[in-house]
């Protein structure tokens, strides 16, 4: 199969990108925490979610490793045949574009509700889309390098979780399990749902230098982001107590509680700008995946002309899908969580099954599998 993306990235960059893809749903908006029914021990839900996600990650990455030279757009057609394969390709492309729209809107909503309330949200959406689409157009190498830098920034911004130490009260973490496990199982669904975004690895794996490392590095990405999400959940509860679940933009509000000494205040713009970059890398990766996917479905020579149109599509979706921040949060918590888990897991299972059936058939005809690792 022909590769339209000539770039190559390292496994470390894959890890950085997957890490960033997961972190936006914690730094920019934190749907898991918003309205959580048992905030004092919310970390239990995060732990459950991360553990389950690690298992589901195997399902996702192993699928990519079966056909290490192809993107999912290509091997879904190999495994299922032309039309069902294309249907899955379109579902995924739709998923990436709509997911980008969700992220852009969440980013715009976060900035307009906490920093610049009078600026139209469209300004932030358009700026994000322009930058991200431009990065996507330059190919995966650019996005990968950008991601590497920003991922380090996001890790450093983890300081936000410790710096409001003067406002922290660790007694707020008690009691443990006052309402039983039910709210945590429910909450962990939101955590798992956002880990399903890691399915974008299906597009990146063929471009990684040392593919055998990808599985290991993607596990690191899950664990690393898991630790940070856990930190966010704990830090928010220790600082805000009973109000932790009431915040519309928890990460930003947390960053505002940093006071070092009596004079070093209002440094929230530093972590917040890193988080905005985080969202931009994630959106760029979505655009790149959608553009590459579309060009592979239609057999185009080049994905680059599609980057801006995909961005424009995501920008308009982000304006059309959601009425308000309340709408956005309702959708994310109740609809998107279920939808993304179902979609990704269903596609992974179908393709796994398909490839098993196909392999057992092909073994009877001609032994040996053509798709070996280089």
């Amino acid at each position: 199969m022909q590769q339209i993306e000539g770039g190559r990235i390292s496994s470390f960059q894959v890890m950085c990108l997957l890490f960033l893809v997961r972190m936006t749903a914690t730094t920019i908006s934190f749907p898991f925490m918003i309205g959580h029914e048992s905030p004092t021990d919310a970390w239990i839900g995060v732990a459950i979610g991360v553990a389950v996600s690690l298992v589901l990650l195997e399902l996702i990455i192993q699928l990519g490793m079966k056909y290490p030279d192809m993107t999912i757009i290509q091997y879904s057609q190999v495994v299922l045949g032309r039309f069902p394969g294309k249907a899955i390709a379109f579902l995924l492309i739709w998923f990436w574009i709509s997911d980008a729209a969700l992220t852009i809107r969440a980013l715009g909503a976060a900035i307009t509700s906490s920093f610049m309330p009078e600026t139209p949200i469209l300004v932030f959406i358009l700026l994000t889309v322009l930058l991200s689409a431009n990065a996507a157009r330059n190919g995966i190498e650019i996005v990968g390098r950008w991601g590497e830098l920003v991922a380090i920034g996001v890790l450093v911004s983890g300081l936000v979780l410790v710096l409001p130490y003067r406002a922290m009260n660790f007694k707020n973490l008690m009691p443990v399990l006052p309402y039983g496990l039910a709210p945590h199982i429910k909450g962990s669904l939101t955590i798992i749902a956002f880990y399903m975004r890691l399915s974008i690895a299906w597009m990146i794996i063929p471009l990684a230098h040392n593919r055998k490392e990808v599985l290991r590095y993607s596990r690191y990405a899950v664990l690393l982001s898991g630790v940070l999400i856990l930190g966010h959940a704990i830090s928010l509860v220790t600082v805000f107590g009973s109000q932790a679940t009431a915040l519309a933009v928890p990460g930003f509000t947390l960053a505002r509680q940093i006071f070092i000494g009596q004079f070093f205040e209002r440094i929230e713009t530093i972590p917040v700008s890193i988080w905005v970059l985080n969202a931009m890398v994630k959106v760029a990766l979505d655009f790149w995946a959608a553009a590459t996917g579309l060009s592979q479905v239609f057999g185009l020579q080049n994905f680059q002309p599609l980057a801006y149109p995909v961005g424009a599509l995501a920008a308009s979706f982000s304006m059309l899908f959601f009425e308000s921040l309340v709408d956005l949060i309702q959708f994310t918590k109740h609809t998107w969580s279920i939808y993304s888990i179902l979609l990704v897991i269903a596609i992974a299972l179908i393709l796994h099954l398909g490839s098993i059936i196909k392999n057992s058939n092909s073994r009877t005809i001609k032994p040996g599998n053509g798709h070996s690792d280089r």
């Binding site: 004092t40 509700s113 906490s114 920093f115 610049m116 309330p117 009078e118 600026t119 139209p120 300004v123 700026l127 406002a167 007694k171 707020n172 008690m174 009691p175 399990l177 006052p178 309402y179 600082v239 805000f240 107590g241 009973s242 109000q243 009431a246 509000t253 505002r256 509680q257 006071f259 209002r266």
Partner: protein, 407 residues
């Protein structure tokens, strides 16, 4: 379409046009000359029953005068008062009396008037400060006893050109040297409001009118200084309504229980002399409590550990000849602290407001018990039995072992 030179030029011009329009400045830009830096916000019930907002603005120009006389005659702040039906509306109404647009990012205090807290409660006035992107949750919360926040915001303090600087200084001094206030930020106030089994509190302040002939020498030489203020005590809420006040000693009692006493002085009858007093300087203390739910009663055990130095006696003591008196001082200190704690709990039980968080402790450690009693906690709180254990250690008697004696 094959890109030609002219399309490149057209694209270049288009991009430049977009950049020019975007880089001209922020959408939300506000020039500093148009902004009034809000240092403190006061909220009252107006005489007609609406919300009255008083805002204290800093006047940077007058502050910049430094030590020279130019800055002296001009007040470095001014106060504007408006009335409205909601807090946000009041802020916009400020436009009709204030020359500058309020800028809340530097606000340090949110002050509530007595009447507002009794009649309207906190609920109708606090939401704005959460919702607004500019307001800061780290502002300190004060409640004015027996006066309006408006009167309080007119008060000035010696040694600080801006009243909010003065208040900050007093808060810090009191908190670290006497422990008669229990300072909390707006965020903590809300945490208390929203938490199970604990009631909000606020630092109490009083307005002290100066007599017309008082001449203030020192930094403030202006004649229009009418009042100053004193801090101390605690406003106690139930739900979001003010139900009563703890005086300064009762507030310290609360701080003993919460482990928030940093340094303070304890004055109690000197051992062996009923009418003379001994003063102990407390250096450190820890305090905690545990609430046990038993079949027939709820018992709160309060445990305080403290270390102090002997600061002053009024009747001669000689620790060289009578070392056993040392232990009596420790016992006396323990009894004094215990009495202060008992007084606080009795007062709070009489008010029916669980400002200590006994209920919260049950919720945190025994969530199942709390589920059973949370419905009638208001009836149970006044019946909670108190068991206080104080361990006091005295370190040194100061620079002398023996007092001066008259012959």
């Amino acid at each position: 379409m094959i890109p030609t030179r002219s399309t490149h030029v057209a694209a270049y011009v288009a991009i430049m046009a977009v950049l020019i329009s975007l880089t001209s400045g922020c959408w939300n830009r506000r020039e500093i000359e148009t902004l009034g830096f809000v240092m403190a916000i006061g909220l009252d019930e107006s005489p007609s029953g609406r919300i009255q907002l008083t805002v204290q603005f800093a006047k940077p120009g007058a502050l910049a005068g430094g030590t020279e006389a130019a800055g002296r005659s001009e007040k470095p702040f001014w106060v504007s008062t408006v009335e409205g039906d909601t807090v946000f509306e009041c802020f916009r109404h400020l436009g009709s009396v204030s020359t500058k647009r309020p800028y809340l990012q530097h606000n340090r205090f949110i002050i509530f008037g007595d009447e507002l807290l009794k009649n309207k409660g906190l609920m109708p006035v606090i939401d704005f400060f959460n919702r607004d992107a500019e307001a800061r949750l780290a502002s300190q919360v004060l409640a004015v006893k027996g006066a309006t926040a408006r009167e309080y915001l007119q008060a000035e303090f010696e040694g600080a050109s801006l009243p909010s600087e003065g208040e900050q200084g007093m808060l810090l001094y009191l908190e670290t040297a006497l422990g008669t206030i229990s300072p909390l930020t707006f965020r903590e106030l809300e945490d208390r409001m929203g938490s199970e089994g604990i009631e909000p509190i606020a630092v109490g302040v009083e307005v002290v009118p100066l007599k017309p002939d008082t001449s203030i020498k020192g930094e403030l030489t202006r004649e229009e200084v009418k009042s100053t203020a004193r801090l101390g005590g605690t406003a106690v809420f139930k739900g979001d309504y003010l139900v009563g006040w703890l005086d300064e000693y009762e507030t310290r009692g609360l701080n003993w229980i919460l482990g928030k006493v940093k340094s303070t002085l304890m004055v109690f009858p000197q051992p062996g002399f009923e009418d003379r007093l001994a003063t102990i300087e407390i250096l450190r203390s820890t305090g905690n409590f545990k609430v046990e739910v038993r079949d027939d009663s709820i018992v709160a055990s309060i445990h305080v550990d403290t270390i102090g130095n002997l600061g002053e006696v009024q009747e001669p003591v000689d620790f060289v000849k009578q070392p056993e008196t040392w232990g009596q001082f420790e016992k006396g200190l323990e009894a004094a602290i215990k009495q202060e704690i008992m007084q606080t709990v009795t007062k709070l039980q009489a008010l029916g407001a669980d400002a200590i968080g006994f209920g919260q402790d049950i919720f945190r450690r025994k969530p199942k018990d709390w589920a059973n009693i949370r419905g009638h906690w208001d009836d149970l709180f006044p019946t909670v039995k108190i068991h206080v254990q104080v361990k006091a250690k005295l370190r040194t008697p100061g620079m002398v072992l023996k007092s001066v004696k008259t012959r």
